[in-house]
Symmetry: C2
Subunit: 212 residues, 2 copies
């Protein structure tokens, strides 16, 4: 199910997991500090992961070396397959953005292979500036997404506006909502959410015209 190279990468990462301990040092002027904040950890782990793969000679290429970690995809493997890297604090729940909802709907209809992206997910722990990798997962999107009370697909929704696709608690023994069982279940939930949401979006357009 996963891309061959992703499986190799995942196995090697899992073997070495215990050694993934470290720190973030920030040097500026004559001060050097060990960083305890978690704000930038996701971006740092992604950049580190690229360097780690390069050192090991894996067939992977960073897709956004200079464009920041917001663009899609994070990495190409085996030339043209997609790999996303996600990170979350093991002492909280997974709350990263899987993708912007609108862009994802659009790109899936234009480029269906996006649904087959592999997701490599790291959870970390930061204690007094000491960072360690806690767990590593290799997943497909339907294994880390779920329904929600509000929509067939769990999303970040504020004031009736959908922003991002948000992850399920796939790592939990007693999740409130279970992950989807298949690629098709995920796709159905995505388009059902889009349909229900479109009704509301049309009314919003009407309303903002009304105010012009």
């Amino acid at each position: 199910m996963y891309h061959n190279e992703s499986v190799k990468i995942y196995n090697e990462l899992s073997n070495q997991k215990e050694s993934f301990k470290g720190q973030i040092l920030f040097e500026l002027g004559d001060i050097e500090i060990k960083i305890n904040g978690k704000d930038g950890v996701g971006g740092l782990v992604e950049e580190w992961f690229g360097a780690w793969c390069e050192g090991k000679g894996f067939d992977i290429e960073s897709a956004n070396k200079n464009s920041g970690s917001q663009s899609f995809p994070d990495f190409f493997i085996e030339g043209d397959k997609l790999l996303e890297v996600k990170t979350f604090d093991a002492d909280a729940s997974a709350n990263f953005d899987l993708a912007n909802f609108d862009s994802y709907c659009k790109s899936v209809s234009e480029n269906p292979k996006r649904v087959d992206s592999d997701y490599l997910i790291f959870s970390y722990r930061m204690v007094d500036g000491n960072l360690s990798i806690q767990d590593i997962w290799l997943k497909k999107i339907w294994e880390i997404t779920c329904p929600s009370e509000r929509w067939p697909l769990k999303t970040q929704t504020k004031k009736d506006v959908i922003y991002n696709i948000r992850p399920a608690a796939w790592y939990s023994d007693k999740p409130r909502f279970k992950t989807f069982n298949s690629r098709d279940e995920f796709i159905n939930a995505l388009f059902k959410t889009q349909q229900e949401y479109a009704g509301i979006s049309y009314l919003k357009d009407y309303q903002s015209n009304f105010f012009k």
Copy 2:
């Protein structure tokens, strides 16, 4: 106009500005990399600034040592006065969030001294992992905010929903919108925006009840 201790801090920072060069090192397992991404720089500079002030013996205390950089305020100076630290990439425009719009309106009516917070702003440049501080400003909020086409106060607005108060291009010779001339001008723009927006918000509430 600014708090005394802020002025001292600002002067000392400005004197040393040329020496504020450095890097971010990320060590994990047996790999050490120099980080070139800009994602976490704001949080790092804020944490560094706290350590720098401590080393110099300034009368300042971090208000959110363990709660991340999202909370308000960033620092207390002289015991109870407020200092916010903001950071932006000198090769782009200032696009940090000054505050969440709703929370700011609420907290200003409950605690008017929030309007008198000092803002210490750093612009930086990151080239091949080499970080340097480019400029430093000490400002009041009305000196770094402005009107916009959409609202009397420039805000981040998506699909008719206002999220954050966003900065003017106060550092530009030819800004599209000039900053406010006084505290009162800023306050007027804030409450006029809230009034105009409330009309839309009420309709939004009506609409979401309609859909329940």
